[in-house]
């Protein structure tokens, strides 16, 4: 199968799964933004998604995408390290125009994945999982998303720590996407001499658009938490 056996095929899989996850994040971020304007509206979205069949199928699809993206990343990295050979260069110069993030995509990906696990525990486990299994895993009703968000981010002490952790996560995600988006398009063949600069700018804009809604929500609750401290 060329999607597994050829280098471009493997990169093609990475690109497609990555872009699909970007689309999901855009959707997720927009939903989140609702909580800043109205907690009721946010809970309505939680209710609409919840443990309904389409949300469950979507979740399974996402889990599959993350699994494929991550296992391919490990596979590619092992192959790439082997291709470098046994001896490393004693001196490695700074290469002009090579972004730091492009050389550290795996590290950034692992950071993103690590925080993702924390995030799934913070919310998904207490909401969709609780609703699916009927087990009470959190303090509130599984569909009362706004209450969970508020409790996590505004509790004195831990709330602010969580805000900081989520912001670190979002920075890693931005760096990952700042290279990932244009690189994915390039791998799909959508690039040429003229579009090279444009596509990098597009990648940067998409990365910012993905991260911004999440960051706004965290900063909103960070402000609220600090306000409650005073």
């Amino acid at each position: 199968m060329w999607l597994k056996d050829s280098s471009i095929g493997r990169k093609f899989v990475m690109s497609l799964t990555g872009l699909a996850l970007v689309l999901f994040l855009l959707f997720h971020g927009c939903m989140n933004l609702a909580v800043v304007f109205s907690e009721d509206a946010y809970n309505m979205i939680c209710h609409l998604l919840g443990a309904n069949w389409y949300a469950v199928i979507g979740t399974l699809g996402l889990a599959f995408l993350v699994l494929v993206h991550f296992s391919y990343a490990i596979y590619l990295t092992i192959q790439n390290r082997a291709a470098r050979g046994n001896d490393r260069y004693a001196v490695t110069g700074k290469k002009e125009g090579v972004d730091w993030e492009s050389e550290n995509m795996l590290v950034l990906g692992i950071i993103v994945l690590g925080f993702l696990c924390l995030h799934l525990y913070n919310f998904w486990f207490k909401m969709q999982f609780a609703e699916l299994t009927g087990i009470e895993t959190g303090m509130f009703d599984p569909q009362n998303g706004a209450a969970y968000v508020k409790a996590l981010f505004t509790t004195r002490g831990w709330g602010q720590v969580y805000c900081a952790l989520y912001l670190v996560w979002l920075c890693a995600l931005w760096l990952h996407l700042n290279h990932g988006v244009w690189s994915a398009l390039h791998t799909l063949g959508w690039n040429n001499l003229v579009w090279m600069k444009r596509i990098k700018v597009i990648g940067c804009i998409v990365a910012t658009l993905v991260v911004l809604p999440f960051a706004i929500v965290v900063l909103y609750y960070l402000g609220m938490g600090i306000g409650m401290l005073c």
């Binding site: 060329w2 471009i8 590619l76 192959q79 260069y89 004693a90 001196v91 290469k95 002009e96 125009g97």
Partner: protein
């Protein structure tokens, strides 16, 4: 103004393909800055021969930047710390008095070291043999303007064809990927009518050979294009991806 400098050269010495390599530091006094880097190594070798030591083995041929033989990693850069040149075009004026210059061979699984700084780059030849040619009958030599080719296309094909196959791209790549080389070779033919006929088969064959020889997977960091002595563009890689994916979807 060029003057004379005293330098230390830290060179990778490896007796053979299987031998354990190590760095050896040599002092060179009174080196003229107008000398090329390879001339400096020649001076070093004369000094080593006079001392009855084994001279440093390195590849070189044309010494005018078109053969791509002088493959070496100088101070962390393939072909040294200057842009768009080969090692033979590098001059000692790029270095300061008292500087220690580190010289290493290409380090890539597909380019095993033969001796010291000389590596086996037949992998690139094998990729070329897999499809980097036109085998259809293109007839006799036509008039230059018989087949109209737009200037931008001709320029891009020519720029891709400027690749000298030196291996700096795979050497500089953190993934040991040969994509810039393969993409340049696929592009120079895929852009022109004579090469288009076999374009799909060529892309598949050359990529398959590249994978088979143990080169890594491209992650678009761009180190290859940054270090390429001929400034071959990263855009060629997108073209190769396009050619390859289209060919696979047509199957």
């Amino acid at each position: 103004m060029d003057s004379y400098i005293d330098i230390k050269v830290r060179v990778w010495r490896q007796a053979g393909p299987k031998a354990q390599g190590h760095f050896e530091t040599y002092e060179l006094k009174h080196v003229f800055q107008g000398a090329s880097f390879l001339e400096m190594i020649d001076i070093l070798n004369e000094q080593l021969v006079a001392e009855h030591k084994d001279p440093v083995t390195y590849d070189h041929d044309c010494r005018e930047g078109i053969c791509g033989m002088c493959s070496m990693y100088v101070n962390g850069h393939p072909h040294g710390p200057d842009s768009a040149i080969t090692t033979c075009q590098l001059h000692m004026r790029k270095f300061k008095d008292g500087e220690t210059i580190t010289v290493e061979p290409w380090r890539s699984r597909a380019f095993p070291v033969i001796k010291d700084l000389m590596v086996d780059r037949q992998a690139y030849d094998k990729i070329m043999q897999a499809g980097g040619f036109v085998s259809v009958n293109t007839g006799g030599v036509p008039d230059a303007n018989a087949i109209p080719i737009p200037k931008p296309v001709a320029d891009e094909a020519m720029d891709a064809a400027s690749c000298i196959g030196c291996g700096a791209c795979a050497a500089a790549c953190k993934n040991g990927s040969a994509m810039l080389f393969v993409s340049a070779k696929v592009s120079q033919l895929a852009l022109l009518p004579q090469g288009k006929i076999e374009a799909a088969a060529r892309a598949k064959a050359m990529v398959a050979k590249m994978d088979e020889l143990g080169f890594g997977n491209c992650t678009n960091t761009g180190a290859c294009a940054a270090e390429c002595p001929k400034s071959v563009s990263l855009a060629n890689i997108a073209r190769l991806n396009r050619e390859f994916l289209c060919a696979k979807f047509q199957d």
